[in-house]
């Protein structure tokens, strides 16, 4: 199967596998080669599954598979096993590109040698070659190629250097014009009948060191001054955690502050479109019921979802993507490990929680970076305690309206909102820790925890590129998903609100049915039914609430937050209502997509149910307590 296939148009098909350690820029290279836009991040485990892409070059079709980052093919962690299985099945590819970080070659040679033990249809691609000079490192690529028996190509994936050479080398290896030769003797190193794991590892490591000593000259300390200084700040027991909180405060503040402006603009825009649609329907003489369904049901819901979600998303996602690129996040995991250890988990859970801010479904999948099964399960079940981008805007809006409303200046209002939001988020983290602790006591599994995490060198983020990429991929993805859910949800809610049975609408009846329970929780039936009805996507929580209110009063399209506040107040909202709604939104059960993700990752319906029940129970319990306390306070004052 090594022979390349010929397709109809006589273009050779070249199948390439991208393999390498985590943090070596595989995904950047993949994007560079294919023109595809995979999300990248400077931490181990960002790519947890296979992604595939194609491109045409040199009169050949290249299909590329990006394997998850692996430190080794010898161990059994899920993502490393994916990489191993793929490489061992030789008909999967015609050439493996082994991507290595040129600045830490010796470390990367470990995996290189392990891959060469399986196949010699490979090329070693030394990425980050542009950083070598700055770090005072020189690499003798000819000698390296001689030692390994495969071609070596210097590349800078982010600066697009060396890509052409890499492509032609891959092609030449695939069609056999470039011969590689075996330098390794399997029995010397990898024979597992003779050697145990420790011996094999030691031998591979020794060989890597020998080759690196031969080919790499380093004139400076490889730990860059800048990295050392930043680590001194970020990894210190005194400044580490405050610095981390500050970084997040800035991110959330920019999100809350910046979201004020486009929101108004969008509200105005949607109002304008609405009049156009109405005119158009007038022109077509559309039936009033259909018109109302489309405009008051679907259109208003969609425009709400977009205006409330888009502004924070368009700010938060790029900021977060830039943060991911820098390599700061693993440092946070390092700092938080101690706190997580106390609840029987480890600092890597912090990384999966951070991913949860973007999307809980992604956060749940990201839990694969946690090796210990029990810890992974805890992290999966508690992931939705972190408000995803579908819930964050609702939280920001409610805080800003009900708890910072005395501050009219948008600057101070956003500062106040950020402060309260941070407190609420810290509370969410606290609850995560508490539940993790409770869970880890009730799940069997070995109790010995581990935390082994690479803290990669800091990299300067390519701000513009990352921003555009995350807007194009993340923001649009999340938004389109929200709209896809908002359309049927809008129609459904409209129907519920407009189908009357024995004098009142179905929605009214649902609300009335839930009213007794809701009143114990400090909210009303409308809010509670919205909590349940937003199962498909958490984004539609507010639109459902508003539409329910609109069935008695009339809902206009979004214009400003203060108008939203007025509308809610008219429907009987007080600070207590807002606070309980915030709690119900924060401790909302995972959305349908996340549930599917949980089911897939845990392989268990039971744990999926637990993941739904735990946030729900937590939210209800907290609201009940808050309501009780407030009733006491009122009755005594």
């Amino acid at each position: 199967m090594r022979k390349p296939k010929f397709t109809n148009n006589d273009k050779k098909e070249i199948r390439v596998a991208l393999a390498g350690n985590p943090n070596v820029g595989k995904t950047t290279l993949f994007n560079q080669l294919t023109g595809m836009k995979q999300h990248t991040g400077n931490w181990a485990g960002k790519t947890v599954s296979l992604s595939q892409g194609e491109f045409v070059a040199d009169n050949a079709i290249f299909s590329i598979t990006d394997l998850p980052g692996a430190y080794s093919l010898l161990s059994d962690s899920p993502e490393e096993k994916i990489a191993k299985d793929y490489i061992e099945e030789k008909k999967n590819y015609t050439c493996v590109i082994i991507v290595a970080d040129a600045t830490v070659l010796e470390r990367n040679l470990n995996l290189t040698l392990q891959i060469l033990n399986i196949t010699y249809n490979a090329v070693l691609c030394l990425n980050f070659s542009d950083e070598l000079k700055k770090k005072g490192i020189s690499i003798d690529t000819d000698e390296l190629s001689l030692q390994l028996g495969i071609p070596v190509v210097m590349v800078s994936a982010s600066k697009k250097k060396g890509i052409d050479k890499l492509i032609s080398t891959v092609k030449n290896i695939s069609d056999g014009t470039l011969k590689t030769y075996k330098t390794l003797k399997r029995k010397d190193m990898f024979d597992d009948k003779v050697y145990d794991y420790a011996q094999i590892s030691a031998k591979v490591s020794e060989e890597s060191r020998r080759i690196a000593n031969l080919c790499v000259k380093s004139s400076k300390d490889t730990y860059a001054d800048f990295d050392r200084k930043l680590d001194k700040l970020l990894l210190s027991p005194i400044t580490g955690i405050p610095a981390m909180i500050l970084v997040f405060a800035v991110v959330f503040w920019l999100t809350a502050f910046g979201a004020n402006y486009p929101g108004e603009l969008l509200g105005w825009f949607f109002g304008w479109i609405k009049t156009l649609i109405l005119q158009f329907f007038e022109f077509l003489k559309v039936n009033d019921v259909v018109k109302s369904l489309i405009v008051d049901g679907i259109y208003v819901t969609v425009s709400w979802v977009v205006t409330v979600m888009l502004p924070p998303a368009i700010i938060f996602f790029p900021l977060f993507a830039v943060l991911e690129e820098t390599g700061i996040l693993p440092r946070f995991a390092f700092n938080l490990d101690k706190i997580f250890a106390k609840s029987g988990s480890n600092g890597k859970q912090a990384l999966t929680m951070l991913m949860g801010f973007g999307c809980n479904a992604c956060g749940v999948m990201g839990c694969r970076i946690i090796n210990n099964k029990r810890e992974r399960l805890c992290a999966i079940v508690t992931n939705s305690f972190i408000p995803c981008n579908g819930r964050l805007p609702t939280l920001i809006a409610l805080i800003s309206i009900f708890f910072c409303n005395t501050m009219y200046d948008p600057f101070f209002n956003s500062l106040c909102t950020t402060g309260i939001l941070l407190l609420i988020l810290m509370f969410a983290v606290l609850m995560t820790l508490v539940v993790t602790k409770l869970l880890s006591h009730s799940i069997n599994g070995y109790s010995e925890n581990g935390f082994i995490l690479e803290l990669p060198p800091y990299r300067k983020p390519q701000i513009i590129k990352v921003t555009l990429l995350s807007i194009k991929e993340k923001v649009l993805y999340v938004l389109s998903r929200a709209i896809a859910v908002a359309v049927p949800a809008g129609a459904l809610i409209w129907l519920l609100a407009n189908i009357n049975i024995s004098g009142s609408s179905l929605l009214c009846q649902i609300n009335n049915f839930l009213e007794p329970l809701a009143s114990v929780l400090g909210v009303d039936g409308v809010i509670l039914s919205a909590v349940f009805l937003s199962f498909p996507a958490n984004e539609i929580l507010m639109p459902i609430i508003l539409m329910s209110y609109a069935s008695s009063s009339s809902l206009t399209e979004y214009s400003t937050l203060s108008e939203l506040g007025t509308l809610l107040t008219q429907n009987g909202w007080i600070k207590l209502t807002a606070f309980c709604t915030i709690l119900l939104c924060l401790f909302h059960f995972p959305c349908s997509t996340t549930c599917i993700s949980i089911k897939r990752e845990t392989g268990s319906t039971f744990w999926t149910f637990v993941s739904v029940l735990i946030p729900l129970a937590t939210g209800f319990a907290l609201c009940f307590i808050i309501n009780l306390i407030s009733a006491f306070v009122i009755s005594f004052s």
């Binding site: 830490v104 490591s205 020794e206 680590d231 490990d337 250890a341 935390f451 690479e454 803290l455």
Partner: protein, 76 residues
């Protein structure tokens, strides 16, 4: 020259790894991350109460709990 385990190594001091205790559950992972015989290692940053330490090893920084580092035998 004397033998010790990694958790006792003072911040900023260089040592060479001679092996990992067989009782260490994460032995395989540690090997993969470069904690192999002959590797030079220096602890650089440490949390309060020595819960976790960042080590410089083979050109990168790796965070490790004391639970693990006590299994790693070194010579200095």
């Amino acid at each position: 020259m004397h033998n010790d385990t990694l958790q006792n190594l003072k911040i900023g001091t260089e040592a060479t790894i001679i092996g990992i205790d067989r009782n260490c559950r994460n032995k395989l992972r540690l090997f993969d991350m470069g904690f192999t015989k002959g590797s030079v290692i220096t602890p650089l940053w440490q949390s309060k109460n020595k819960h976790i330490t960042a080590y410089r090893i083979k050109g990168t920084l790796i965070g490790l709990r004391t639970e693990e580092s006590r299994y790693i035998n070194i010579i200095l």
